[in-house]
């Protein structure tokens, strides 16, 4: 495991380690099975084209799950996701290279140790297809 951060050492403005993902059509099928989201726009090209899309698209929530993986890879056993808020701004396609990013926006020590992150997913075309914020609680 990577070394895990402590609340004290996290600095506002710093980035957390990113995560790169390359979703394939096989992964979309696996996600459909695991999540129960069988919307045909994620596996049926003709259906997607007929609905005005350029082709089969990656599930938005799979991209959100990639972000969540980035968080837990970072905080390890020391943190927990408290709140996540994301908007889906663009489409990703199988074969895209998606990079998850997070930058520390705020630290708070009111009732518990909380860190707020600005988060986004960017594809190889430089498009931020998912943007949002996350709040992580830290145990120390």
């Amino acid at each position: 495991m990577k070394s895990q951060p402590s609340f004290e050492n996290v600095e506002v403005g710093a980035g957390i380690p990113g995560l790169v993902k390359k979703p394939t059509t096989q992964q979309l099928v696996m996600w459909a099975g695991a999540s129960g989201d069988y919307n045909p726009i994620h596996y049926d090209k003709d259906f997607a084209l007929n609905r005005g899309l350029p082709g089969v698209v990656v599930h938005g929530q799979l991209s959100t799950a990639f972000l969540c993986q980035m968080f837990s890879d970072w905080y390890g056993k020391r943190g927990n996701l408290k709140k996540l808020n994301v908007s889906y701004k663009g489409l990703n396609f199988p074969g895209d290279t998606l990079t998850c990013h997070g930058v520390v926006k705020d630290k708070s020590q009111a009732a518990e140790n909380l860190i707020t992150l600005d988060v986004w997913v960017e594809n190889q075309r430089g498009e931020k297809t998912l943007v949002g914020t996350a709040i992580i609680s830290f145990q120390g």
């Binding site: 495991m1 993986q69 390890g76 808020n85």
Partner: protein, 139 residues
Amino acid sequence: MNQQLTIEDLKKQVGQPWLTLTYPIEHGMVQRFVEAVGDENPRWRGKKPEAPPALLLTIGFERVISMLLNLPEAVLHGSTELECFEAVKVGDVITVSARVTSIRERLPMTFINLEIEQHNQKGVLVARCKQLAILRGKA
């Protein structure tokens, strides 16, 4: 099984309890999920692991998607909000309550806001999820 649904039916549901479903959090369910994501974090592995937070986004919502897919419009995802209050582990039984909070039409688009609350077998609220589904019709 899918139920036939129209947007007018959905409008009648605004603010009302819509779906209530129960999900036992099983080991295989969690493993299929983390394998689909490609997430090898040990927190989600072992004999009685935690469920990753992203799993909570999917339970209950898959039934909503299934029902919306009966409509002729393309179903897209606009936004997601997840609040986690308690950890969920393998062995927990989660009851999901979904309701439509608002519907806004700006044709050819229809925006459907949903709220899904999840309680464990002790009646404790473990998570609240808000989803924006967008129905995109042909212009």
